[in-house]
Symmetry: D2
Subunit: 373 residues, 4 copies
Amino acid sequence: MERRNVGILGATGTVGQRFIQLLAEHPWFNITWLAASDRSAGKRFEDACSWKLETPLPQRIADMIVQPNVPDGSSTELPRIIFSSVDSDIARELEPKFAAAGCAVVSNSSAFRMAADVPLVVPEVNAGHLEAIESQATRQSFGGYVVTNPNCCAIGLVLPLKPLEDRFGIEKLFVSTMQAVSGAGYPGVPSLDILGNVIPFIKNEEEKLQEEIGKLLGSTDGRSFRYSDATVSAHCNRVPVLEGHTECVSIKLRTPATREEIIAAWQSFQPLSGLSFKLPSAPARSVEFLEAVDRPQPKLDLMRGNGMATTVSRLRPCSLFDWKFTLLSHNTLRGAAGCAVLNAELLAALGKFNFKRFPPVNANFASQDLVNA
Amino acid sequence: MERRNVGILGATGTVGQRFIQLLAEHPWFNITWLAASDRSAGKRFEDACSWKLETPLPQRIADMIVQPNVPDGSSTELPRIIFSSVDSDIARELEPKFAAAGCAVVSNSSAFRMAADVPLVVPEVNAGHLEAIESQATRQSFGGYVVTNPNCCAIGLVLPLKPLEDRFGIEKLFVSTMQAVSGAGYPGVPSLDILGNVIPFIKNEEEKLQEEIGKLLGSTDGRSFRYSDATVSAHCNRVPVLEGHTECVSIKLRTPATREEIIAAWQSFQPLSGLSFKLPSAPARSVEFLEAVDRPQPKLDLMRGNGMATTVSRLRPCSLFDWKFTLLSHNTLRGAAGCAVLNAELLAALGKFNFKRFPPVNANFASQDLVNA
Amino acid sequence: MERRNVGILGATGTVGQRFIQLLAEHPWFNITWLAASDRSAGKRFEDACSWKLETPLPQRIADMIVQPNVPDGSSTELPRIIFSSVDSDIARELEPKFAAAGCAVVSNSSAFRMAADVPLVVPEVNAGHLEAIESQATRQSFGGYVVTNPNCCAIGLVLPLKPLEDRFGIEKLFVSTMQAVSGAGYPGVPSLDILGNVIPFIKNEEEKLQEEIGKLLGSTDGRSFRYSDATVSAHCNRVPVLEGHTECVSIKLRTPATREEIIAAWQSFQPLSGLSFKLPSAPARSVEFLEAVDRPQPKLDLMRGNGMATTVSRLRPCSLFDWKFTLLSHNTLRGAAGCAVLNAELLAALGKFNFKRFPPVNANFASQDLVNA
Amino acid sequence: MERRNVGILGATGTVGQRFIQLLAEHPWFNITWLAASDRSAGKRFEDACSWKLETPLPQRIADMIVQPNVPDGSSTELPRIIFSSVDSDIARELEPKFAAAGCAVVSNSSAFRMAADVPLVVPEVNAGHLEAIESQATRQSFGGYVVTNPNCCAIGLVLPLKPLEDRFGIEKLFVSTMQAVSGAGYPGVPSLDILGNVIPFIKNEEEKLQEEIGKLLGSTDGRSFRYSDATVSAHCNRVPVLEGHTECVSIKLRTPATREEIIAAWQSFQPLSGLSFKLPSAPARSVEFLEAVDRPQPKLDLMRGNGMATTVSRLRPCSLFDWKFTLLSHNTLRGAAGCAVLNAELLAALGKFNFKRFPPVNANFASQDLVNA
């Protein structure tokens, strides 16, 4: 597969930095464009960004000049593939403009996740939802479109849910989370609030988690989405952990299943095996089940599958529902930038990046035209 | 009320130190006897104990000599009231011996919590259960008996449950905990295991929490206990917090209740108001409800009611059951030593410490004689 | 002593909240005025402030209306005593205005600490420096003046230094700090930067610590200050601790001293004993020496002397200088608000709060008129 | 270079696990023998060991049977190269036995570091000291010998010191450390002692650090060691960090040096470039200097040079000595197992592993015969 030029919207942020980390040496993509807010535009990236990752900032990226976060369709320099991770309000304004400029916007932002013609995708779970981009007005007019990935907690959770949904059906779900501070971005959670503490509240998080699972496990006719009618109740908490969301789950199935059947469902889960291309960021196994009684733990299991697998353990009977288990997912790799990159790899494999020439500039195309929400 | 002499079994441990902190200046009790394992016996307390509390060790206690952890009924020095916090295996062996020696054993240990004639008591919840001590064989023969308090998580949880049980009935309950490291004693959890980490497992904790709630909310005929048939499903986790267990709860009531009715139930909860004596350690309110959306937090709410209140917040509808809320309880004050002290205060107020002369020594009285379990 | 009305500049901040905590029940002072930035002015205090202390916000304070941070000399409501803790830039502009309005400004800000006619005071160390307020232009014209307390690290350090300086003379000093996050205010240090980490840099901190010690240990002729010529070299670090600065010190004395002599100097240090009034916030001992080998520790020793004492331990020979020791000081109590309150108590005891009538309004009095710096 | 069989003494411990992590895929070494205490001997390694590293335990190692920690010279299975990391008391007894059995003992233990004929080596600093093994009695009689690496703090510190010593001479040195909990092994530091806390004491650490620097910077005539006469004064502290020791240093040089000259000394430090073999574990640069003002930080710089480099920053003038700087070193990679592996690579490159046939069993060879200490 030839390497395609890509850009990053919100490149200086926490997820933006992860995009750079994942894409700097990517076999299919080549970063040629970085954009951030007006405060950063025009600066060398290194000077605009407080790099917070444990791997060094590549020198080539450090030297790039940060662009303004507007599409400039007349420019030959705007890549057709844009990874986006900006605040929801900004995404709501900007992402339709990039789509209208002919770009494929692969977004980690929450703005359009629940929009009626925008796919909310985790490749192993609902790759078929991507077809809905063909219904988007910008796709039909200019070739551009918006694809989103879910909230960090929903991504980690839906991976082990999917094979259970397929085999046994999921009726009810209780989930209580212990989420890392990196999920709040930078500067994010003040240390005075979280050192040695628990904050039992994350704004809008429970609502997102509850509704996104329904869309992810639902079906599509290629134009709109029908949600799963599984009922989800979430408790979301912040804990003093740097990376890795832990989630305690109790689940009621539609068809009874033994412990062995559930483990077998997880261990045989190979949903991407039918693709013609091996996606470079896909983990060998998307769900890793451990028998050890005191796992998963962020310190020990965060990087399974290069940070792209959900680790599951403690499968045991639930006195209220059928089964209980605990899962762990890397919230800024699999739960954010990594899922968006995997979505982009899937789009590439499906031919959704084979654009024709750039459309004419259409700066007036507004977000209400994009979505039917 | 006259000050009574009391002793502490397991005085050098984490909970033993809390007993000392709470009892050193207690208006009703006077520490005259400290016992610990053979390794410590015979030493000055200060030399035997690595004092870990933020308040200084009182000099009078520092200078006391640690006694062997055996009852010596011929001695005039063994107090009739013994606070106990030792490992379950040791408690199973020792506590009956002290009861057979004529002592009231007010225990924080788990050994006899579920025994058929041993009360498991939180004073605000089930004071009436104390009557069952009269059925204990040691009580009838020698005056001594064993009273226990629940597991730390069960204490914090049952306080807000009790007024809901009384008014609306509790049918089902999900609870997911985030527990402090102090709950594991000292040295307890290695820092390598918990710094920046979550451990989603605490041995036997879920079982204890699930079964103890049933006994606490159940009834007694004065001889045995009938358990509540509320179904409880627990997920127990360790988080890097020093003190304070946070619990996320989803609850299904037998009779529907509005948000206002639930809050009213908590705010009007005054179960100890009928006693002739004000118990010195009882908080003004055992359940404190906060409207703030991001509370309770260990850092901010741990010491409400001098560490004896359960703080509750985030009351909101649950998509699976009726209501969701989050609670916080101080696990080594209210959840351990403080609850035992409150139990002792209640026993004093009820006249259960009005002993006759010491019984004859009966060192052969074994634990199987004490309990019907 | 009659209770005097006082105000707080920067009342919503981290140190402002500590001022409220310390002054709400103060026997000599009565909070009647709270001011903060324009964003907060006009709101109820509770609505303007994110209260972060473990003790509850008093209801009377919660209900007060936040005032604009300007002196209004015509108003009868502006108290003559103003506690100030605002950013240095703001203090540089505001504090002279309040002094020119006739107020005694007792400041925790760094703006005027090194100014030529502004006392930098820790009561136990250099109470005599307060006399320099009489040289301040605003004092002479309008009765108002500015008094400052040092940087948090300098306060904790200078307390054990003072008796050594008096008896043996201090020639050289190496100090390496491990400072709590509360020292950076709120939101302050992002949790992503400090959880499980050390940041070996705090802006301007080493410079402040090095120069302030010289002024504190220096002398005054009542008009200007002569600095001590002790040489100080500081390394300042941030560690994941909520409250409490730990400092490792190596010291070279001018006159040799034995270990016993040094301990005796600390234990007999009673510098405030000559005052006619016992200052309410003064600790029984300003320096507490411990023999235990692994102390002081923030977790165990933070609150010695109600958070107003410096705890010292690990006194041992230094292979380069004479002696090494480690100290701990509560950085937002003794190291900030508590020291300012103690300064105010000292000013009250010295009669420096016996103001005449309010001066005429003089809004144009500028900071360059106040200081000779 | 052919792959040689190696064994690990103390394989289940914290450093033992790092040995396994570093050696499992090593190009020159092949793990064939794992030993631990009697409690573990005879078990599968996976069952004997609580694996605590973030990379998975290799299956081949998991299945190995733990051997008793005694040399069995008649066995063909005892490898001639033994990596050792056991408690000092045990090392003092065991390591001479393995040397007397003909093994090269590459030890991370402190027992023989200061022994008169035992090299204490960091390859980039004093490779020439290895020649002293030829003076060891066991070497002369049986071919076996003991080589040690320094304490974790000394390793991180001596790397940037060495080029300064060579060019300018080091006269005096202050060092104040902030050390990670992993340095204390497992279970090591209880979480109750270190969460949100600083412990300003680590037993024997300051002594080790002070004396080992002298041996490392000293010279040898091939038989005995002459120590550097640089004077070192150390303050050692434990902080709530998982991995990575941070050290604040003030240094007095014998010859004045500019900032540029010091940086140049570090950046041109290539001490291993003269070897015929590139050592597989040697970092590209052993000292990495950063200009950023707030570095090094454990979170960001721990893994520079694959955890084998010392990162240095904050080079600035010292008011007492000449220069101040801060350094960071990975305490269980470079500071323990990694340094021992690098020592072994150096021994291999120097031909010190070209053993003849195994010597006769000599179980009575005692530690006093080995060392002249």
